[in-house]
Amino acid sequence: MKRKWNWPIWLGFVVAVGGLFSYEFFAEFPVTRDFPWANLSLFGIGTALLLLGLFRAFGRPQLYRGRIFGSAFAAIALLLFAFFAYEIFYVLKQVPLSAQAPRASEKAPEFSLPDQNGKHVVLSDLLSPNGVILIFYRGYW
């Protein structure tokens, strides 16, 4: 008898891969960037489907396909999740302490830098009428 197509394995794998590669999209919205709820949910759904598929493949191997490729897909999905978790929960938190950064009520260090038009700007140019928000960016777009 021809065994049945084990769709949860395929779908689970696609959803788990989507959990990794959708990061750039979800990172555009603060609510899904500050904590990657959306990506973790995709990984969770993908894992549940993969487990369902593996359960079927190993529980009723005469009826369902997928013991070998299901295991391989599950292993790849696990590696992708490990990479994601390492980047999100370790690499992104490797931020310098900046212990000597100016603190509230201290004088802000003066500077003179060119703006996007090549015009030199000094801090005091920016202070009137109500001060300035300085935003340091990582850059390299």
């Binding site: 992104l92 931020v95 802000a108 700007v121 009428p129 001060g131 777009w141």
Partner: protein, 96 residues
Amino acid sequence: MHLAAISVDPVDVTAAHCRKLGYTFTFLSDADAAVIKRYDVLHRGAGPKGNDIARPAEFYVDRNGVVQWVNLTENIAVRARPEQALSAIDAASLSH
């Protein structure tokens, strides 16, 4: 109130970026990271080619040149929200 961004990108890169995204606020180029170091917000080797760049950081400096609010994130993905900056400015102007 002014808004000024600072990165290590050279002026031409910053100019192209501002054109592309429609930024009209001041975007300063600190190519040798001298000001970034002065503010102690350097992230050594964190650039794409292992170069030094700025870590994300936000400061509100009042009209007298005094820092009123500092946001130093502990996670590169988590940045200050506009509301945070605005409430810091409100608090600073109330105390004047």
